[in-house]
Subunit: 233 residues, 2 copies
C-alpha cells in the first residue's frame, strides 16, 4: 500500500459536532455503506480520520471535518483521547479503513474534538462519496455506530455539559442568529437536563447584557408571536 509518507496511521481525530433543532440535541454523523460478502451493510460514524504526518492535532480536526462535511471555520475543542487496543479490533472497521485510506492499519489512538454549530449550516460532501446527516441523540441506542464512536459521543456530551456550565455564552453557537427566549430556555433545559421556570428565566436573561432585543417577532406560528433576540459580542 502507498500513503505511508503522507499519513500517520497511528493517530486519528474524530469530531463530535452538536446541533439543536429547537427541541433536541443532534449529532452530525457520516453514513457508511459497506458491501460485505455481497450484503450491503449500513452504519454511521463520526467525521474523523487519521492525521497527516506533518500536521498538528487541531489542524487535523479542522481539515478532516471540512473534507467530510464541507464545514469551515468551526471552533473545535479537544476533549479526550481514546486508545484502547480493542477499539480497532472489529474486522469490518479495519477493512473499511484500509480500503478507504489505502494503508495497512494497526492500532489507532484517536483524539476527539467537540463543536457546537447552528443546525441550519450547509452540510456538503467534498471528497469521497460520503453523506453527513444530523441524528437525534436520543436515538443513539438504536443506531449502529462504528468503532467506539458511541462512547466518544457520550463523553463528548458530558464534556459540553460541563463546558456550558463554565462558559454559558457558548449556548448561542447552537441557536440561529435570531431566536426567541423560549428557544433559549428550551435549549438551556435540554443541555442541563432541567425544567426551568418561565418567569425566572425571563428575569435571568433580562440581565444578560449580551442579549439584545430586536424589533421583530417570529412568524409562521399559530399563536401569539414571540419577540426575537440576538446575541451580541
Amino acid at each position: 500500500m502507498s500513503n505511508e509518507n503522507i499519513y500517520n496511521p497511528h493517530v486519528s481525530v474524530d469530531c463530535v459536532v452538536f446541533g439543536f433543532d429547537g427541541e433536541r440535541l443532534k449529532v452530525l454523523l457520516i453514513e457508511r455503506n459497506i458491501t460485505e460478502q455481497n450484503e450491503l451493510y449500513n452504519d454511521k460514524k463520526l467525521p474523523g480520520s487519521i492525521i497527516l504526518q506533518d500536521e498538528n492535532l487541531d489542524e487535523a480536526a479542522s481539515r478532516v471535518l471540512n473534507e467530510l462535511t464541507g464545514l469551515k471555520n468551526i471552533y473545535l475543542s479537544q476533549f479526550r483521547s481514546f486508545g484502547g487496543p480493542d477499539r480497532t479490533k472489529n474486522p469490518r472497521d479495519i477493512l473499511w479503513l484500509e480500503n478507504t485510506m489505502q494503508l495497512k492499519i494497526g492500532r489507532i489512538v484517536t483524539v476527539a474534538y467537540v463543536a457546537l454549530i447552528k443546525i441550519d449550516r450547509k452540510i456538503q460532501v467534498k471528497y469521497e462519496n460520503t453523506q453527513a446527516n444530523w441524528y437525534d441523540l436520543n436515538e443513539m441506542a438504536s443506531m449502529n455506530l462504528a468503532f467506539d464512536h458511541a462512547e466518544i459521543i457520550k463523553k463528548g456530551l458530558d464534556h459540553i455539559r460541563h463546558q456550558l456550565d463554565v462558559e454559558p455564552h457558548l449556548l448561542f453557537e447552537l441557536l440561529p442568529k435570531k431566536f426567541t427566549i423560549s428557544q433559549l430556555r428550551i435549549l438551556n433545559d435540554v443541555v442541563h437536563q432541567t425544567r426551568s421556570d418561565v418567569r425566572n428565566f425571563q428575569k435571568k436573561v433580562a440581565q444578560m447584557s449580551y442579549l439584545v432585543m430586536l424589533d421583530e417577532v417570529e412568524d409562521g406560528v399559530p399563536h401569539r408571536a414571540a419577540r426575537l433576540y440576538k446575541y451580541k459580542k
Copy 2:
C-alpha cells in the same frame, strides 16, 4: 534497534502529579542527566513514556508512573493530548529517547494525565536510575523542562482548577489524613487563587457533612494548637 514489537513508539503518556506542602502546590518531576559532548546536562521531565503495543491508555499511565516513581493506586485522569509535530524536534530529547528506549523515534503524540496525591507518600525508584522530586510550581519559569512539558503542566494546572470547582472533595487528596481547617483553607486559596475570610471559611466547612472533627489537635507548633479533622466518605 529492538523493542518494536513491545512498544508503540507513536504514542506516549505523561503524568502531571500535584502535591501540597502546606503552603504551595508542587509537581512531581524526574531529573534527567544527559552527557552531551562531554558536558553534563541536567533538566527535568514529567514522569511519562511511550505505551506498550497492547495496553490501553489508562493502564499505560498507571504503569509508567509506577515504574518511574514507585507510586501505586493513584487515581489518574486523562485531561488532554499534545501532538504537534514540533514537540519531538529537540535533538537532545530525541537522542535521549532513542537511548533510553532502544527504539527509533519519530513523532510522538502524548496523552496527558493529572493526579492529586498526598505529598508525604513515599517516592521510590524502581527501574532505571532516575530520581523523582517535588518542585514548586512557582519556580517552573526558571526550570529546564524537556519537550513541551512546561505547557503540559500549565494545562494540567488549569484542568485541576476547573475540576476542583466541580468536585471540591478532590481537595482532600492533597491533604494528609488528619489536617487543620487552616491547611484546608490555605490549600483552597492556593488552588482558587483567592484569599478567603477565616470566619466565613469556618462557617462553610461547618456544613460539610463529610468533614469530621477529631478529638485531637496538631502538635509541634509554637502557638495554640489547631483542631484536627478528617475527610470521611
